[in-house]
Amino acid sequence: MTLVAVGVLGLVAGVLAGLFGVGGGILFVPTLALGLGLTQLHAEASSLLAILPTALIGSWRQWRYGNLDLRAAGLVGLASIGGVQLGVVVAERIPEATLQRLFGALLLAAAAHLAWRTRRG
């Protein structure tokens, strides 16, 4: 796939993330893996970097709206660093095909979650 096409997919991923309130990462990972041919691990690692600008802008807007609980976000964020270390170790040790299947299962869970949330209104 050409870089332009992948860029368009990135744009579409952003629109969908904004529309449906899902994170960009869940769309970035398949775009990077299936569109650019990155390995699952490299797609996931790069997705985390790709998330940063949109998360930064989103957080800034929410902070201005006064919705953000900075203390809670700080504590969750701080603790997440420990979880990240464990997640990286596991992701690097399990076979590529297994990691991709697990990610597919996460997508199915996200689809079910979205449908359930929609039904509840």
Binding site: V6, V8, G10, L11, A13, G14, V15, L16, A17, G18, L19, F20, G24, G25, F28, V29, L32, L36, A43, E44, A45, S46, L48, L49, A50, I51, L52, P53, T54, A55, S59, Q62, N67, L68, D69, L70, A72, L75, G77, L78, A79, S80, G82, G83, V84, L86, G87, V90, A91, E92, L99, R101, G104, L107, L108, A109, A110, A111, A115, T118
Partner: protein, 114 residues
């Protein structure tokens, strides 16, 4: 406070394992365990994701797994996309479109699992 730390640990683990921010677990857990309302939970989750994604990207970068060019190709256009998406959200029947999007997610999921 203990609940917040547990939420962070779980979210960080999933973020690094799957390359996602972790909002899918942070938002419902803040609502259920910490009695946050939906709006405050989503906003707070975004800021927490900033930290978990940064930690994940930095750790993976040290191991040489991050491709900055590839991240820029999807991440930079996505900034424009998210801004457009949040504006469109006010004007489109998002409720009805959600099922379509859920189907797309499920289809990609099935492709990866199979």
């Amino acid at each position: 406070m203990a609940s917040l730390l547990v939420i962070g640990l779980v979210a960080g683990f999933l973020a690094a394992l799957f390359g996602v921010g972790g909002g899918i677990v942070i938002v419902p857990l803040l609502v259920v365990l910490c009695a946050f309302d939906q709006r405050r939970a989503s906003a707070t989750s975004l800021a927490a994701i900033l930290v978990s994604s940064l930690a994940g990207a930095a750790t993976y970068a040290l191991h040489g797994a991050v491709k900055p060019g590839a991240a820029a190709v999807v991440g930079l256009p996505a900034i424009v996309g998210v801004l457009a998406g949040t504006v469109l959200q006010q004007r489109l029947p998002v409720h009805r479109l959600s099922y379509g999007f859920a189907l797309v997610l499920a289809a990609v999921g099935v492709r990866l699992v199979a």
